[in-house]
Symmetry: C2
Subunit: 687 residues, 2 copies
């Protein structure tokens, strides 16, 4: 057994003149009081309880399905074969019940939003093609009908949607309009004479593109289009983007008249998803096929809506669709955990280069560099998994209510969904790339799954909101403190708005959750003197950074008020600052979630392990951002050195727990049944 | 036309008390004296001249072939189809002449090592599957025969090898031994009675694995195995790893007796490369098939070698094979430039979100965040391309000599090859991932090539030396100053060696090249006061960092001399420090190469553009490592702020040149003939 004790760092070893006041026993806030947690199945089961959370039973249902039906990615199938297989696997999931979870009981579902999200999330342990196909059908297409439709639509579509009699797609993105969906070009013009909407793609860039299901299987599409109508005596006018249910294929899979679909073909991954394109040539649909919860057109063409502003109405509609974003982040997280599990298990089998005084060669995971490439990602995966669960539960509460939700709270959840989606998909992409590299040549073979996972996960940073756009959105929300009517503003309009705000921006505008507040109250305001392993210190360091960035961003924006200021230039010059605001916010709310979760854990080894994960999460993020912290004097040079040392020490401390940490993810065996993880196949046994 | 002027930074805007002494006009060292370079074909052609360098004609030969034969990656072919296509494409390249370049004229080649490398590099603008297949045949298999063989082998194989009558593979890696090839398990036991070697795989982990060509096409293998022999009256003894030419398949492609090949199947990419496995069951080959340049076995089993030490002999043999590593880095660089070109051109077509006072939406590349994600990578691509060319030329000189090369110089080139391989493949992988994400959904479609490129490039960080292992090797070379006999040491032995060295380690052990020395002499020793755009300041900042890291690493190693020190623990605790030494070295030598190259450029706009690339390369690497620089007080907080500002300003300054900068790479049109780059297909034209 190796020792993982504390050692002098580079600096203390090389500079005898230095007196190190920073000898924090990282991961040992309580480590000297309590023994180190013992690795093993007991600890893994307890940790899994924390990570599985409220919808643990739903997770197990899907885990069993993955195990029994071997729902894992496959290499070498043709696109047709893969897609057909996905449809079969979806049909086999209907009896499990979760496809009905996303729909209210009165519409024919079971009304368990959190269960719906968690089930699809868990498919990330299996095959992401299946996860996306399922997410499109029951989450996106189903979500549009459920949340934007009214009784007619619920009666007509929901049961069929659950049972796959109605297979649909979610036709929002266009060739020319991805991130900026408010500018979609497809039109839906109401023709009072025939009581019909005419759906039309007026330009090549109006073509619906990348639409999952549109390539082959979808017979219906939830089409987002500019609604154009005129009441009696009015001029036709656009009322902004609305959603319509449009049949696109007949029962033989042939395009209906006026509809031209095509196939996006091969992609970087997700071979089982039939992404496609749709062009509409004056396609008429009955008036009733407008999903009219937030805006309606009367027989005579009169437009009515409970929300006056086109802009606010559009963003309210988008807001109800937030579940897709939450689900994508959650599933990516699951896939990231799978990738890390594969890499950690390989590093516990694979030996390379001799280890003195031991038989054979040394295990990869006994190399510090290998620990450093994997274990901080494992810690981040813990923190994000917990934050993601919290978000799922919050969305569940929001969408399970009677519909009379506090708009500010809804807006807050939307902001959080954007934040967690961006952070969790980034983590997944980073983790899977690192896992692939950490498994060397074996990690490049499809039989060992990592390259398939890598190809599949790649687009998660793009769809359901490009991460960079979302991160900027998160920052904007923080800066404008949920002010209404800023959502539709151009960059310039938004900068001018921020510049015009009289008051100072500060993080404290939203109340901190109780446990965070208590920890903050109990911690030393002087972060330099306080214990770096104390959650209060950690919270302060992250909140202070976010606050600093917010205040300085607002100050820079105020330049836009000056006489000669060019607001576009102000925006351009501050854009990287904004992104940093967003990133800091994401890291802070994730820390708060894990801090909060730890409070509820009573089992001591479990609690100690989670604290170790929290510390490694914080230390490694501080290490990545040391430049900023030093530059803005939020930490001293001495403390910075302690951070770097701390990451090494925490990696050493987490090393004996590594297998337990990933076993706690509860990945089904079949997903880990890989040639490179069978010791007899690829590892040189010690002599 | 947008303006790209200097603006106040976050900090100066928010803190009025600060007096900024750091208002360096980045990219304007001469910018106020000379006008900004004008973008356009003239500048592109001139820059291309610099980047194409000495083997420009060879590049054009391959560019034409890519263009005429449409040598681009394809989606949707079966493995069999793709592999067969590769063989056809290779045959079509034989008449171009470059396959003969890697072999001496007296062996039947043309003796143009630099040309051979450059030609294969340029295939990185086409299809990396073809590049790898060609590299395996003419570079690795051919290189083994050429450099480890003697007259018999040259006579027997070289012509056939060039013409593809002899298709071979390079069978070094084993299932259990990738990075640590000195520990290969395959044996080659000499049997004096039959005058034959018996090649054998004694364990499952001795299986040859991931071998390009072994899956299907190779009929011969250059097999690396432990040579075991005994002279008269001696006990059989291993003389370390040697290389043997072993026939593995008959003319019908069937395994020869005792040989069992199998196929690695689907991978993350490179579908045209038939990677496979080989197991040997007591396969006999004539004694003459030992590639006996560095060690030979007489008929009676007596072993002789001009190099006494098994260890030194092994590393000398490996050293002659360095061309593979150089080629892999070069080709990855080409692929990275291709990825960046695609992303930059897309960002100059694609618009998203409105731009006030302009028709339509704003171009992606006018967003600062988009500039920041692509332009620093373009700058790094310039710097690495130039450093790579220099390395190719140095290797050419080394291998074109009469064989009496200075071993220290050879060792230096090997170290540089490891450094540039690690840095250039990392860059390529980063660049292509970033390019994919920067192109959103379009970037995920195989028709737009980026996902294929992403899948293909992924393993370049692994093969021909895992990047982490190579980076550590670079650091070790710096620390042990090319001391002999340390190459084969275990981690612990090596740490003990460093600890035992009396003298201090310092960068100055190797003489700086003339131009670097002059610039250093002319620059202010106080990097804090001197102009940050001056190459002397930049060189100093990078050299000082490397020196600091080297000295402190050595000091930490000396702990291994202490009584109770555990050398393995010292190694573990310092491993991340070592990696940082390696990375700093790589960044420094690349800077020196571009600084040197600029000196030779007389055309002013070209020179100014290259300086801008150099500055952006330096500023962005300083920004990434600000934490270290601040923590070790190599730059001040004020200067750190200037660095961050500088990256933004340089991105703004490079923006108008973006298309010219990538046009200078000279990518063949066919490689850029992608649906998403055809404006009529996917871009919303301004209204």
């Amino acid at each position: 057994m190796r020792r993982y004790g504390r050692r002098m760092s580079e600096e203390t070893a090389s500079s005898t003149a230095e007196t190190s006041t920073e000898t924090e026993p990282t991961g040992e806030e309580s480590g000297r009081r309590h023994p180190r947690p013992e690795p093993g199945p007991e600890l893994a089961a307890s940790l899994r309880g924390v990570l599985d959370g409220r919808w643990a039973a739903k997770r197990d249902t899907v885990r069993n399905q993955i195990q029994e039906q071997a729902l894992v990615p496959k290499a070498g199938l043709s696109l047709d074969e893969y897609r057909a297989l996905m449809l079969d696997q979806m049909k086999a999931m209907v009896p499990l019940g979760f496809p009905a979870d996303g729909f209210r009981t009165e519409h024919g579902g079971t009304g368990d939003v959190g269960g719906a999200i968690t089930a699809i999330e868990t498919l990330g342990y299996g095959d992401l093609s299946l996860m996306v196909k399922a997410g499109v059908q029951w989450g996106l297409f189903g979500g549009a009908v459920e949340n934007l439709g009214t009784a007619h639509h619920h009666d007509q579509y929901v049961r069929g949607l659950i049972d796959l009699d109605v297979v649909g797609c979610f036709a929002m993105t266009e060739s020319g309009h991805g991130s900026n969906v408010q500018n979609l070009e497809t039109t839906a013009t109401y023709i009072p004479e025939s009581g019909a909407f005419e759906i039309h793609s007026p330009t090549p860039s109006a073509r619906k593109d990348y639409i999952g299901g549109a390539g082959q299987h979808a017979r219906w599409a939830a089409v987002f289009a500019q609604l154009i109508t005129a009441g009696p005596g009015e001029e036709p006018e656009s009322r902004g983007v609305h959603c319509f249910v449009v049949p696109i294929r007949d029962e033989n899979g042939e395009d209906l008249p006026g509809v031209t679909t095509s196939d996006c073909g091969y992609k970087g991954g997700l071979p089982g998803v039939d992404n496609g394109r749709i062009v509409f040539d004056h396609v008429r649909i009955p008036r009733a096929e407008l999903l009219n919860r937030y805006g309606d057109v009367a027989e005579d063409g009169t437009y009515t809506s409970s929300i006056e502003s086109d802009n606010r109405r559009f963003f309210t509609m988008l807001g109800t669709l937030v579940r897709g974003r939450v689900t994508v982040g959650a599933s990516a997280g699951a896939a990231g955990r799978l990738g890390l599990t594969i890499a950690v298990k390989y590093a516990l089998l694979r030996r390379q280069f001799s280890a003195p005084d031991e038989p054979g060669e040394q295990l990869l995971l006994d190399y510090r560099t290998h620990q450093r490439r994997l274990l901080p990602l494992v810690a981040r995966a813990y923190a994000f998994a917990i934050a993601q669960n919290e978000l799922t539960a919050e969305l569940h509460e929001l969408q399970s209510g009677d519909g009379d939700t506090d708009p500010d709270y809804a807006r807050e959840i939307e902001g959080k969904a954007a934040a967690i989606k961006a952070g969790h998909t980034r983590l997944a992409s980073d983790a899977i790339s690192e896992a692939r590299e950490a498994c060397g040549g074996a990690g490049y073979l499809s039989e060992n799954r990592l390259p398939l996972l890598r190809g599949d996960i790649d687009v998660f940073t793009t769809f359901e909101g490009d991460n960079l756009v979302l991160t900027q959105l998160v920052a904007k929300e923080q800066l404008t403190a949920y002010a209404e009517d800023v959502q539709g503003l151009t960059a310039v309009g938004w900068v001018r708005f921020v510049a015009s705000m009289a008051r100072d921006v500060a993080l404290e505008k939203t109340a901190a959750r109780q446990v965070v507040q208590t920890l903050l109250d109990d911690s030393d305001e002087d972060t330099e003197q306080s214990d770096l392993t104390h959650p209060g210190t950690q919270l302060r360091l992250l909140r202070n950074r976010e606050n600093h960035l917010l205040r300085t961003a607002a100050a820079r924006m105020r330049r836009a008020k000056e006489e000669d200021a060019d607001a576009l230039e102000v925006f351009t010059e501050t854009q990287d600052h904004l992104i940093k605001v967003g990133e800091s916010h994401i890291e802070r709310i994730v820390l708060e979630a894990i801090v909060d979760a730890i409070t509820d854990v009573t089992d001591r080894p479990t609690r100690e392990t989670l604290k170790m994960m929290r510390n490694l999460y914080v230390y490694s993020l501080l290490e990545r951002d040391l430049g900023w912290y030093l530059m803005h004097r939020h930490i001293s040079v001495e403390r910075a050195k302690a951070v770097r040392r701390g990451v090494n020490e925490l990696c050493g401390a987490a090393r004996p727990l590594a297998e337990t940490l990933v076993d706690a993810f509860g990945i089904p065996d079949t997903a880990l049944d890989l040639p490179m993880l069978r010791p007899e196949n690829s590892v040189a046994a010690p002599q």
